[in-house]
Symmetry: C2
Subunit: 455 residues, 2 copies
């Protein structure tokens, strides 16, 4: 008999519209009033008392007494030196791939004349100050350091502040320190939760307020990021948050053991992880369910991992076209295409954060080392938000430069539109220039010089 509860398979065509909606429904995401109040109080405390509030909150929540919220760079270096060789090599390889892929994403300046004498530019500037939040807890997460730190380094953001809750010794793991140094992080702050986000948003005596906050976190971090991004003039944030998701489309070329292993790698993130398998093959679906039972039994954290599988969906579709349509409707964070000629299906399944093509592209590959970013839109946000990329570490601004000739060419349009929009002073800003002796003289000088050039 099956030891773990794994959701049964259903046939999409047999479901009512309401049942379909319910199958693809994400768990409700709403921070409780109580949590929001706590978060607001924490942010206000840090705003008013700065470093001392930060230290007090770290004592309360992380049970560590620190002298300063800043981990000195010498100490970061000492800790980094203790990283196991195997882990160092893994970070080196991941770093190189992430760097290679993100370096290709360099946004370009635009510089054109839209009309003679009207030069328009779209320029790019790195964000000056960015905060990179790295969750703490039971494990160290060097991969998240790389995903946020490599693009910040490539963009050359002036200040790249890494914040992460201290371990019980008031330190960070060697692997996090090693990754942080590789990314040229400029400051390491020992703080977690809402208080860490508060410090990044409003600044303290020892930490500068930043322009944008990146990185995942628990419900306090998520609520705090949302809260500070709504403050007037507050920092930007990378993405709205939600539980992690994997949707797999498989046909009968797929290997049930591979599918099961991928579903489990998603499920182990926690009970609210979303796991969906779509296949036109009942055989593949049932083989996967059986493989899950076997593989679960071998996992150290089987009970926790099994929780996400109880609410997962195993859906039998008419064909791959129907599977693709369901995936588009759901817009998963991670989409795995374990089908024949998988590459041909990418465009039809493009509403996803990151797509894993073929039988040899496990989701955990992208989590760590292929080179793509693992900070991705979830909760259906793949429809309208982008996967994290180098562009998110820059801002774009525009420039226009007009000669007197350029302005005189634009003048009829500006004045007519300003009149239509009843903005008289907008119109006068043009006509006062046009009517001025200065502009008339400059126009004549330019005409004369053009004629001079012609002769």
């Amino acid at each position: 008999m099956a030891r773990y509860t794994i959701a049964s398979a259903v046939r999409w065509q047999s479901l009512s519209e309401e049942e379909r909606r319910s199958r693809l429904q994400r768990p409700a995401q709403r921070a409780s009033e109580q949590l929001m109040r706590q978060v607001r109080d924490i942010i206000e405390q840090v705003e008013q008392q700065g470093d001392s509030a930060l230290l007090e909150l770290t004592q309360r929540f992380d049970n560590v007494s620190l002298d300063s919220p800043v981990l000195a760079m010498e100490q970061v270096e000492t800790l980094a030196g203790r990283t196991e060789q195997k882990v160092k090599q893994a970070i080196d390889l991941a770093y190189d791939n992430i760097r290679r892929f993100h370096a290709q994403q360099q946004p370009q300046t635009v510089d054109i004349e839209t009309m003679p004498g009207v030069r328009c530019q779209q320029r790019i500037a790195p964000l000056r100050k960015v905060g990179l939040y790295i969750p703490g807890g039971s494990a160290s997460l060097p991969s998240t350091v790389l995903m946020c730190g490599v693009p910040a380094q490539l963009a050359q953001c002036n200040e790249r502040i890494l914040v992460s809750p201290p371990d019980k010794d008031g330190l960070l793991s060697p692997a996090i320190c090693y990754a942080a140094l590789k990314c040229g992080v400029t400051q390491v702050v020992l703080a977690g939760g809402a208080q860490a986000i508060a410090a990044l948003a409003v600044g303290t005596q020892s930490i500068n307020a930043v322009d944008k906050i990146f990185g995942p976190g628990n419900s306090y971090v998520t609520a705090a990021k949302q809260y500070v991004s709504q403050l007037a003039g507050g920092p930007a944030i990378d993405l709205p948050a939600g539980p992690s998701e994997l949707l797999i489309i498989a046909d009968d070329t797929a290997d049930a053991e591979f599918i099961a292993a991928d579903l489990l790698s998603q499920a182990e993130h926690g009970p609210d992880s979303q796991v969906i398998l779509l296949s036109p093959s009942t055989k593949v679906v049932e083989a996967t369910r059986a493989a899950l039972q076997r593989q679960l039994a071998e996992l150290p954290r089987a009970e926790i991992t099994a929780q996400a599988l109880a609410s997962s969906s195993f859906i039998v579709t008419e064909d791959l076209t129907e599977a693709a349509a369901i995936s588009q409707r759901y817009a998963p964070e991670h989409l795995s295409l374990q089908i024949k000629d998988a590459e041909d299906w990418i465009e039809q399944t493009d509403q996803a954060g990151s797509i894993f093509v073929g039988h040899y592209a496990p989701e955990s590959g992208g989590d760590y080392a292929t080179g793509t970013n693992h900070v991705l839109p979830t909760y259906g946000y793949a429809r309208n938000y982008s996967s994290l990329g180098l562009a998110d570490f820059y801002r774009r601004y525009t420039v226009q430069q007009l000669t007197p000739q350029g302005l005189s060419l634009l003048a009829p349009a500006i004045t007519a539109l300003a009149a239509e929009e009843k903005l008289d002073a907008h119109r006068l800003a043009v006509t006062r220039r046009l009517d001025s002796a200065r502009m008339q003289a400059d126009l004549q000088t330019a005409t004369a010089s053009t004629e001079g050039e012609r002769q």
Copy 2:
């Protein structure tokens, strides 16, 4: 004697840090509890009752009784035909310039092998459904239609829904209709305020919910955009809102009449418009203040325009370097450089939404016709948000495609990092593939074929 109250000039060096902060302080931006409650009620009403709620709210707020919230395309065409010739030509010219400049901003696909057998792509897809909010009120705003509509058209967003409050006849202005048709808008909706944003966010019987909402609006629109963007799975929005701003840096090559005209074109947007002049030349500052008195007297809406000038700042700086530093600190929406060799100062003043270079680049040029976008970050958001551009109408997603060789190259890094992060199933998703007879066979086939190619 001066008829209008215009703030006096102050010398930056004579101000305390507190006075400096106060000079550059934006007006508080916080929607009242009452407004937020109203907005929430309106959104819930539209969510529950759809079109009928929309029609009822349009009756209540716009005093117009409509049969449908959708303005039929034939009617849009009829109305567009009534546009004055001069306005048509102005829209045509502005459209061409905006299109030329935005067409250059096409985001590019990235497609590389980060390692042999590890192909990573960053792909681009247009947002499917976008909503373009065009404010109504006393004047028609065809320029905003172009600023949102042209990039939506270039990106080929499938649905481009224009929403705007109806005039007293239940229609829209000819100029708005003409601009909407040029941009290939797919649907025109007669609704304004929070109810219009609600319809775009949650959809009604006749209006599809959209992925992202663009465009400026009054305090109800702003509060509603903020509210719906915070709903779990809600639409994205273009930019956080704030009152419009112009900061001018001028030296003694500047013309006080030009400066005054530009300051007035900013001030006429309303009493909360922010207007700042920085100059090392007391003479230029005082000449500008005198010119403002003269020019105000000639303006039809002088009283309203003068209100913004009462709280404006005229600051005398030590030199242009100090002026640039103040501008960076303020991070204005619009920055005008009316100085000698203005181009050389752009990089030192880059924290701005849009920069107007030289004596012949009035801000109203960029508002309408140079080609740059007039939807810009204000309220200091020029530090961390981008000026609206073509990229905002796309989403980016990533793809990875691995051969068995590629996966075996990545395997040591993935398994070491998964072990470090205590994610066993992540590790097993790789090792189960590696250990499978299938992958071993595929690896051998590939090796054999490579050797075959070599021979």
